[in-house]
Structure formats: C-alpha cells, structure tokens
Amino acid sequence: MDPKLELLKAFYDGLPKDRAKVETLDHGFEYLEKMLTDGMTLEYGERVLLRKVYKYKFSNIPPWKIEELLLAHVQKSCNVCLYFADKSNNLFGFNLDNRHDIKGAATSPEMEFAVSLLRDILTNTGCTPLVVASGKGYHLWCRLAAPVANEQLYQFMLRAMAKTLYALHQKGMDHNQINPRFYPDPRVQDKISLRLFGSVHPNTGAFSRVLMPEGLLDEEASWSAFEQHLRLNTISEETFTDACKAMAPADGYGIT
C-alpha cells in the first residue's frame, strides 16, 4: 500500500468512510456512471462559480471505492473530504479564514497573530495542533487517541477560540478580520466536511502545506510533519480531560 495512503487512513481512522465529498475537475454523466456503482449514490453535486471545479457528495460508498478515492487524493487527482461521526470523534479542528474581502493567507497580521496564539493555547494544554495553510487562512487540527463526545469537543474549542479572539482584542487588533469556525459542530454535523491532509488547490495544483512556528514546509516535509504529528502528538484521554479542565475554569470561558 502507498505509505501516504496508509498514513491518511491511520490519521482519519475515526471518521466514517461511507460518505465523502469529492472535489475534482471531472464532470459529465459518464463520470457519474463510473462512480455510481455498487450502491454508491450521489446526494448532490455542485459547480463552483468561476472555477471549473465540481464537488460531489457521495454516500453508501463501498470500502473498495473509498480506498480508490483516497489513493486518488494522495496522487492529487482529486480532493477527498470526510464527514464527522454523529456522536463522538477523535479529531477536532479550527478553520481560521481571512475575512471575505482579504485575499491570501499571509497578508493579515491579525491572522498571523491568531494562528500563533491559538497554537500556543492548545499546545500549553497538551493538545498540540497540526497547522495547515488552506489558501484563505489556516486550519488547526488535533487528533485524540479515543473519541470524545461532539458537544464536549465543541465546548473546548469554543473556549480556546474565545481566548484567542479576546487576546487579539486586547492587543488592539480587529478580531473581525478573522472568520473562525470549528468542527465538529453539533449544529451542522452532517453538512460540513473536512478536507483531508494532502489536498491540492483544484485549479492551481498548489499543495496545502504545513505551517510550523519557523514557517511553511514544502510538500515532502509537510508529509513528514503529518506523520510525526500522528506518531507524537495524538492526545491521550487523560491529557484531554486535563486540557478541558484547564480551558474551562470557574469564570466559564477562562478569559484572563
């Protein structure tokens, strides 16, 4: 098996594999006919405005097909996005996007500060995140050794985000420059999917690189960092329990 595929499957072992969103330039009824075999169904498709990119939400995906899709993902011929499990997950993440009228990831000082701060806040509680440049901001992902209830994950992330935005405000920066979201979000559980590590921009082919405190890594170094993150930074149950306590002291949001 392709080592990158193996790594991807290990990292995302907690996410359901029977449904996925696929981002690709492929389209047409022939493509759909080829995909929709063995009971696989298309929930809906989408043509992205101004880019000839298509997104397809598939369900009832047979195991051999998801294997095929994940391989295509590591080979960069499509992006695969998976959905969170309904009740509990061993993965949670923050999407920090630039405000809609700001282009690019590195141009906003608020963004740079927020990413660095959120990384520190999480790391200080023992939840070291993997930070990936998304094109319009950054994604921070934390992987747990065992699944945790979605509501508990959400409350933890809400507090971490509140601390980050408050610190931004205290520094005299405009927190409205950042559009923060975090997942799994129990309100949109089956609607929002997670683009897997190793994705590329569908049009430009640009790889989503890992951001270390020292800077952005290249593609191969990003895969190594991903492997290391899985091996060294998977959060134990005990550590996460302590992190939750540290994140939510008596004042509710832990903003000090």
């Binding site: 389209h27 009824f29 022939e30 759909l32 043509r47 939400k57 949109v188 609607k191």
Partner: protein, 258 residues
C-alpha cells in the same frame, strides 16, 4: 471479429455515429463477444448516438442502436414552484431564539424580499442566518405548479434524464428539497447546485434548461443552451434566439424533441 467490424462499419455508414462534436462522450465497451469479458480494442468514445453490442439469441454479436439519453436541467424556485409569492406573502415573525432584535429582523426581511442587501450585509452572519431560516421555510411552504409536475412526469415517462439544478445551498437544504420533490411526485435523477446554470449545462452537454433567472435568459445564445422560462413581470422583453417564455409548461413540449 470480422462480423463485428462489418456491422460497425455498416452502422457508421448509415449515419449512426455522426455528430462527433466533442460534447459529452459515451463510452462503448464491447464485451463477451469473444467469450472474454473485455476486448482491448473494443472501446470507442462516441458522441451521444451510442450503439451497443450484445449477443443475440444464438450467441452471435450484433450492434443495436441505443437511443441517446435526452437530458434537461430544471430549476426549482419560481420555476417549479411559487417561491417568491410565498416569500412576499407569508407573515414571518421574529423568534426569541434569533440572534438579533426584532427591528433588525424586520430590516433584513425587507432586504431579503427586495434583494437589496449590499455585499457586507449579505456576508454578515446575522443576515445569512435570517436568509437560511426564511428561505428554508419558503422551501417547505412553496406550492408546486400542477402543470410543472405533469410536465416533468411526462418527461420521465418518455425516458428523459432530469437534472434538478438550483441556487439553493444544498449542504443545508438537501433534505427539505428532496422531501418537497418527493411529496409533489416530481421525478428527478440528480440534484445540482449551480449559480451559473448555463455554464453547468454547457459543461455537461445539456441542451435544455428551464429556469426563470434573468442571467440564464440573457446569455442563453452565448452558451448555446435552449432556455425556457415561466413568464413573470421581471421577464419583460427578455426573449432571445434560444430563450423562450411560456405561460404553461405544456408549451415547452413543442420546443423539445418528442
């Protein structure tokens, strides 16, 4: 092999494989005729008029002319239903759980009805919330046009492939959309979100689109898509070479192949 080649050449001579115009290609795989499951030389990409090869009763291969699958894309809101009428005619009221006061609710509702929100408002969380909530309610309350239902059912009976093509955010509105289509016995094959429906039709080789949107009507000729639209006050003087307005869905029948 010789039999097959002869039949293929004959079919081609008769014009079955014309119109190789580079649109959606249909893959023809000839199998079983040699007793193997797939022959390496037997894959042809043929546009639309796709003959298929199968075995006849005595096990000999023969070519059949498969009918091309006729496809139509159909919008939902204000095409299959009365969305705008519901949006304007329903008395929506502020709910205590909404994350803004009643005054802002009324202001945003007025903007939503007039389509007058500026870009910053459109992207604000509060307006997005209101739009999702109100639109979501309209999706459920909207009434299907009886002539539209009958028309789509007749297309299905005639073997058309039906693609529902909408601006709706199906990430959130997929369930109510499917429910509404099912409740109204509107058959369809696929659901698609497309802001630019003409570009979508062009990408997928769909020649016919039923849509009320002014953009689709105005640029139909440019994209080479036949657009049919239910005439509304906003459509005054909209007709172009490929865009035709109708009062009843029955009129569309004359403009599409039987």
């Amino acid at each position: 092999m010789a039999d097959l080649a002869h039949e293929y050449a004959e079919a081609r001579r008769k014009g079955a494989l014309v119109d190789l115009c580079g649109r959606a290609k249909w893959r023809l795989t000839i199998s079983h005729w040699t007793g193997t499951t797939r022959h390496p030389f037997a894959a042809f990409y043929i546009d639309r008029h796709t003959p298929c090869v199968d075995k006849n009763q005595n096990g000999k291969s023969r070519l059949n002319m498969r009918q091309p699958i006729r496809t139509i894309a159909i919008d939902i809101d204000d095409t299959l239903n009365n969305f705008t009428e519901i949006l304007h005619g329903t008395n929506f009221t502020h709910n205590e759980t909404y994350p803004f006061p009643p005054a802002l609710f009324n202001e945003y509702l007025a903007m939503l009805r007039k389509e007058s929100a500026d870009e910053a408002t459109l992207r604000s969380r509060e307006f997005s919330f209101l739009r999702q909530t109100i639109n979501g309610e309209c999706y459920i309350r909207a009434v299907a046009r009886p002539d539209a239902v009958e028309f789509v059912q007749s297309l299905r009976a005639d073997g058309w492939r039906i693609v529902i093509c909408t601006h709706r955010d199906l990430r959130r509105a997929q369930a109510p959309t499917r429910q509404w289509l099912n409740d109204n016995d509107i058959p369809f094959d696929y659901l698609f979100i497309a802001v630019d429906k003409l570009a979508f039709c062009k990408d997928w080789g769909i020649e016919y689109l039923i849509d009320d949107h002014l953009y689709s009507i105005r640029f139909a000729d440019e994209y080479g898509v036949n657009v049919f639209y239910p005439i509304m006050p906003k459509h005054e003087k909209s007709e172009t070479r490929l865009a035709k307005g109708f009062r009843s869905f029955n009129e569309v029948r004359q403009w599409i192949p039987n």
